[in-house]
């Protein structure tokens, strides 16, 4: 009974959050000082064509009516049609979001695999040269704007060294050669067994993923280090040392396991931030992801697209938060 109540409460809060998100985004979309008909009929169109476009968008109706109609469509799974792409927004999101998932997932995996050990070891060797280097590198990752880092990376690794291909998700040569299954190009290439296309896709993915990974890594490393320093000062660590346990065992089995819960929050937020669409990175690397889609839509007041993309991102945030809650229960018996 208690469990059912808990599920109902969670679902209720999710629905309220999504409603609030839709409402706020809708209002912002309607008060933004851009006429959405410009994106459809342009600046030169005569008044009757503009009026017809306004009517087609439903903008001739009162605002509350527009919102109710939008909610009604939303409940039927209809996010409307994008004026920029002429496609249903759901189709657009299915087109662009997997590219962001691919980039963000690769970046967060790299950031985790490097950032967590660095943070743990830096804490274990607090004040050492290694610790100082890690702190400087982390600080640099936080301080350098990601677009500067992106451009520098292109200049060095593409222009000067030629280690990676240029911008974009794949070479135009491979366009349309790999059947779309997941929308994540590297995965689709593997499914298709097209190794040439896979290497090309991996090559294109490497640089933006590393740039984003460095950005996330700096946060993860700093937070891991801080959590570990706190944990290593705990009485149970003194007890463990007094028992004669090895330093490695104390570090990884005792201290690290106790920072797992706050670390999960940091990772979830970092991943959600990347999934939200690393706008600047996607622009610099011409990566066809949700960040680029959202930016172009916003600048054209393509409100169906903006609302749809925002709701998807909101759902991702909520979903990751719920997963983080679930992970707490796995890693921390006290929460169960």
């Amino acid at each position: 009974m208690l469990r059912l109540k808990g599920i109902a409460q969670t679902l209720g809060s999710v629905l309220v959050t999504l409603f609030g998100l839709a409402f706020v985004t809708f209002i912002i979309g309607r008060v933004v000082p851009i006429d959405p008909t410009i994106a459809i009929v342009g600046d030169h169109a005569p008044p009757d064509v503009v009026a017809a476009a306004r009517k087609a968008l439903g903008l001739d109706r009162p605002l509350p009516v527009q919102f109710v109609i939008y909610l009604n469509h939303l409940l039927h799974g209809d996010l409307g049609r994008s004026v920029m792409t002429s496609h249903p927004v759901t189709q657009d999101i299915a087109q662009y979001f997997p590219a962001t998932v691919e980039l963000a997932t690769t970046a967060i995996l790299i950031a985790m695999l490097i950032g967590i050990p660095l943070g743990v070891l830096a804490a274990a060797r607090q004040g050492s040269v290694f610790d100082q280097i890690v702190r400087v590198l982390s600080l640099a990752g936080q301080s350098i704007p990601v677009f500067v880092l992106g451009l520098l990376a292109i200049l060095v690794f593409y222009v000067k060294l030629g280690w990676v291909p240029g911008t974009g998700q794949q070479d135009v040569l491979y366009d349309g050669m790999v059947p779309r299954v997941t929308g994540m190009l590297v995965v689709d290439c593997i499914i298709d067994g097209d190794w040439g296309a896979m290497w090309d896709a991996l090559g294109h993915l490497a640089l933006p993923a590393l740039v984003l990974a460095y950005f996330s890594l700096s946060t993860i490393t700093r937070m891991t280090r801080a959590f570990m320093l706190d944990a290593l000062g705990g009485e149970y660590i003194v007890t463990a040392r007094a028992k004669g346990l090895s330093a490695t065992r104390i570090l990884w089995r005792h201290a690290f396991r106790n920072i797992a819960v706050p670390l999960i929050t940091v990772l979830a937020l970092a991943y959600a931030g990347l999934l939200e669409g690393a706008v600047l990175t996607e622009v610099i690397f011409s990566w066809p992801g949700i960040g680029q889609y959202l930016t172009v839509s916003l600048l054209n007041a393509d409100m169906n697209a903006v609302l749809g993309a925002t709701l998807v991102i909101g759902c991702v945030y909520i979903g990751l938060n719920m997963l983080a809650d679930l992970a707490y229960k796995i890693f921390d018996p006290r929460v169960r």
Partner: protein
Amino acid sequence: MLTRRSLLATTAGTAAVLGLGPLAAVPAFAKTPKNMAVMAKQIDDMVSLDPAESYEFTDNEVDANCYSKLVIPDRKDPSKIVGDLAERWDVSSDGLTLTFHLKSDVIFASGNPVTAEDAAFSLQRVIKLNKAPAFVIGQFGFTPDNVDSLIKATDPQTLVITLPALQATSFVLYCLSANVGGIVEKAVAMKNAQNGDFGNGWLKTHSAGSGPYSLVSWVASDHIILNVNPHFKPQPAMKRIAIRHVADPSAQLLLVQKGGVDIARNLTSDQLKSIAGDKALHLTSANQAAQMYIAMNEAVPQFAKPEVRQAIKWAIGYQAIAQHITPNTWNVSQSFLPKGLPGTLDETPFHKDTAKAKALMAKAGLADGFTVTMDYISHAPYSDIAQAVQADLAAIGIKVTLVPGEEKQVITKTRERAHQLAILEWFPDYFDPNSNAQAFCFDPDDTNASKVRVPAWRSHFSDKTLSEDVLAAAKETDSTKRMAIYADMQKRAWEISPFAFMLQKNDVAVLREGVNGLVLGALPDFTSYRHITKS
């Protein structure tokens, strides 16, 4: 038939892909195939590829390479009109009937011949759909009710257009040469029609034309792929054109330098300067009909005074802006008709003369100046130009508060007549002086109920003489007299209009060594890919 795989097969490393397994397939980066041109361009303005709906720069450029029209301006001398699908045409003695005799050997990408029925259908659907560019043809008096009887095919090779009212023939022909005059294959459009849309929904993202290329795919803000029309004569050297959306000009520069693309289309003045000595790259350019101007809203009491409008025109440092802020990309242009359009006065009567501008301010009773806001688009080169204009106007006592905004935000504000000063951009809808004359001189009804809401209306510029001249020029069948009217209008506009025209765009493309033949032009639909070659 050209396929992606056959294209791939022409490139180095294909054998490895086919035979040597995953590790052997690691590609050599950069370098594009010899029979394919790859272009980096900002394409996020694209909305629709249906000629009856398309109006943005990239839409029109792509359409121009996928669709043929009845007539087009002569590329070498745009003041003349030549046949595209039309072999010749006759005009009746009363000037009301135009009869087009079509070429018999033009084939759509589908393999079917182009007929007069396709041409009639294409123009009729423009009027019936009434999308954004419909007014280009609709302004002659065609309506959904009369268009079927006024535009019709009398036999497979003959199209007859009867004008509801007398118009200058050259005006009609130039309008038919606009992007909206692209001829669509009727059978393909109707096969894909839904809910009486004449195929509009399908043609937004597909093509059905007889131009040198046909659309393979368009993914918004990502890429456009065109394949050669196998029936087009003569066959273009490039069998495929790939246009990649690269939003950042710096990234475009790096790609073209490295060979990741053959052509970069959106480099800034600074970047063009930086590659001046690079022998691996070369430029091609053409005056584009897009112009940048300052609009002064006459609803602001100070701008209602002609002396103030003149003072602003004399205060601006046109040459300094062109030389230091927009070298290579924008040149000085001061008439409402840009260079290249028929009837343009190739004069620049204004230069920076602060003393004269101050005298005009004093004459207007505003020697102490005043304060205004100026809206502008918040990216290069507008930001720098806005600051330069702000400094120039400060020198004559006008304190300008800069109001940056996104392009569509600035347009929205000016459409609502809510601006004071605004730096704006405009390009003609078709290659005839009437387009810009109407935009900047025609405001017969300055009330909010007006059905003509062109830039003149937006800035409350209602001059009876100019409005009448616009109508008279459109109907003048004697070409010499017609151009004389436009010349007088331009001179009058210099004296009284609230538009300080400053610059005209120079469209520049950067090509890699060995890549040639990209043709740029005054309007986006003058851009042609079919002559591109690679050595």
